[in-house]
């Protein structure tokens, strides 16, 4: 019997697992994919919002501001890329200047620190590449940019290191409330657990329906993005938002922690929870709207387009509550934007709710909540020399675009949650993130993965299960006939 079973290991599930790993509890994490961070966590704007946006009094408002407060320290502890860049919401009209005023007031009530309304002049002084038509901005110095999958992986790894059990490729197929515990039917066998937590992102409503309740209505919404080459990375220094509309925070233009420029998203209805396609009209819309903010964006510098799905529901706020039918199941659902920003606070809040549901917390004396990663390119010349002298694998650069060494890739493969795919290595070590998008290093990463995992190169995947790369070998003699 597990004390707590977390279903889904995106940034919400991982944040909770990390939080709970400090206590003397039997915690299990179930993830249907072959790796963690495989849903919305790997395809979003990568922003820690300041928290002026959600309506005062909502859970979203409270947890966003609290999450933003916690994030810097968390990223420091876990060695995750985080940069407090600050954000600007820009206004193009008198009407929008009024909206900024309202957001400013709302933000003050939410407790967002340091908010300032800027004149057009002040705005352009901060961001010279903004359009001349910008008439003012709301400046939020506490907003930040972050590596979202990096955070999820770091939290999940650290949880595993501290005794949390992770079962990948395990999908929950049924939930039953029994006397004093919850029975989970899964693709890899039944699990008995005192409490279960639904962290399944865009699939959360399916789990609520499995439990037998009404749940809520999911309205998955696709957001399409462009990622631009590093040569465009300093076009803006802050996260640039336009005034929000009814469908979301609109198209943003922002530097990323990896030095690129991210442009997006739009808001298009998704066919289902996994509908991550991009479309020509969608991308065109993103491009057109973004140019209103920053007219000099050069889309030819694009190195990748992608889409993510937001877990939007028919309820305006996050859905954080125990299930009606199955009281041992806690939902952390409807975690749309600012879900990433709120993630640590959602975990903190869930911990409290689970306590109210009957979980007793006793701290483990040997808990180590920190993590360190070697990143070759960020070291000084002397440090590089010392590292390569100790381990020559750090002297072999595999990813040319991002300067990622074999040593770092091997470190990633032997981390607490070993990746089995080229993209799994990419999300951990950064190989393949650059302008050639793995064209040069893909085959070499495949070779290293096969060697370190003692498997055949033909079994190495691009990403999720089914994403095989090799269809056969050449020159296998008569064997092929």
């Amino acid at each position: 019997m597990y004390d707590i079973t977390i279903i889904g290991c995106g940034v919400i599930g991982a944040s909770l697992a990390y939080r709970l790993s400090r206590y003397d509890l039997r915690v299990l994490v179930l993830e249907r994919e072959n790796d963690v961070a495989m849903g919305t966590t790997k395809a979003n704007s990568a922003i820690v919002h300041a928290g002026y946006d959600p309506m005062n009094g909502t859970l979203m408002a409270k947890l966003n501001v609290r999450g933003s407060e916690m994030m810097e320290g968390l990223c420091k502890d876990l060695d995750v890329h985080y940069q407090r860049s600050g954000s600007l919401v820009i206004a193009f009209s008198k009407q929008e200047l009024l909206t900024l005023q309202e957001m400013y007031e709302n933000g003050k009530r939410n407790g967002v620190p340091g908010l300032k309304l800027l004149s057009a002049e002040q705005t352009h002084a901060m961001e010279p590449n903004l359009a001349d038509t910008v008439r003012g901005a709301l400046y939020a110095p506490s907003a930040a940019i972050i590596d979202p999958w990096g955070l999820c992986i770091a939290e999940a790894e650290t949880a595993v290191k501290n005794g949390v059990e992770l079962r990948l490729r395990t999908a929950v197929t049924g939930i039953e409330q029994q006397a004093g515990h919850v029975l989970l039917h899964t693709s890899t066998g039944d699990v008995q657990t005192r409490f279960a937590v639904n962290c399944t992102g865009t699939h959360a409503h399916e789990l609520a329906e499995m439990a037998g309740g009404e749940g809520w209505e999911a309205k998955p919404t696709r957001g399409e993005y462009y990622l631009l080459d590093k040569s465009s990375g300093d076009l803006v220094k802050h996260v640039i938002f336009q005034c929000p509309s009814s469908v979301g925070k609109g198209v943003l233009v922002s530097p990323t922690v990896h030095g690129n420029l991210i442009v997006g998203p739009n808001a298009a209805d998704a066919d289902d929870a996994d509908d991550k396609r991009t479309t020509a009209p969608g991308l065109h819309e993103v491009q057109t709207v973004a140019r209103r903010s920053v007219p000099t964006i050069d889309i030819r510098q694009c190195i990748r387009t992608f889409a993510g799905v937001r877990a939007i529901t028919n309820r305006p706020d996050f859905i954080i509550e125990p299930d009606d039918v199955c009281p041992g199941l806690l939902h952390l659902a409807g975690i749309k934007s600012p879900g990433l920003s709120a993630a640590p606070a959602i975990a903190e809040y869930a911990e409290k709710l689970l306590g109210q549901m009957g979980v007793c917390y006793v701290e483990k004396p040997d808990f180590d909540g920190t993590r360190r990663v070697t990143r070759f390119k960020h070291l000084s010349g002397e440090e590089k020399a010392k590292l390569v002298a100790e381990n020559p694998l750090y002297g072999r650069v595999i990813c040319r675009c991002e300067t990622i060494t074999e040593g770092e890739i091997v470190d990633a493969i032997h981390s607490p949650i070993p990746p089995c795919s080229i993209d799994g290595v990419k999300r951990r070590a950064g190989a393949g993130m650059g302008r050639c998008q793995g064209g040069f290093c893909g085959p070499r990463v495949m070779e290293i993965l096969a060697r370190e995992l003692k498997t055949d190169q033909m079994d190495i995947l691009q990403d999720q299960d089914g994403t095989f790369l090799i269809t056969g070998q050449t020159k296998m003699g008569g064997a092929k006939a």
């Binding site: 050449t474 020159k475 296998m476 003699g477 008569g478 092929k480």
Partner: protein
């Protein structure tokens, strides 16, 4: 009259071959083009480049080629032969790995040291 594009070199001359007049070639910039034009309509040939399995080398495959052009209709027969060849390092550029293939005087030779 048949129009052809010469493939002997990257220039790609547009040739005209007159079948009625002894396969006379016009449009060629060099004698190789004339030979190509005459050949292509009567008995077309191609150089085949591919790989064979390699043991004991740094890489699992060794690049090879036919040392002379092969009749075009024998290209896939040649590929089938290569399927079964296993070269063992050390190999030098030009080493013959398979001689007189498909009943011709064409050999398969290594194109890289290994």
């Amino acid at each position: 009259m048949t129009e052809l594009i010469c493939i002997t070199c990257p220039k790609g001359c547009h040739l005209t071959v007159d079948e009625e007049n002894g396969f006379a070639v016009t449009g060629n910039a060099c004698p190789r083009g004339e030979a190509y034009g005459k050949n292509e309509l009567q008995h077309p040939v191609r150089v085949v480049t591919s790989t064979v399995r390699l043991t004991g080398g740094a890489a699992p495959r060794l690049p090879v080629k036919t040392d002379k052009p092969l009749p075009k209709d024998k290209v896939f027969d040649c590929m089938a032969l290569l399927d079964a060849v296993v070269a063992a390092a050390p190999v030098k550029v030009g080493d013959v790995l398979l001689a007189n293939i498909c009943g011709t005087d064409v050999n398969i030779v290594a194109t890289k040291n290994a």
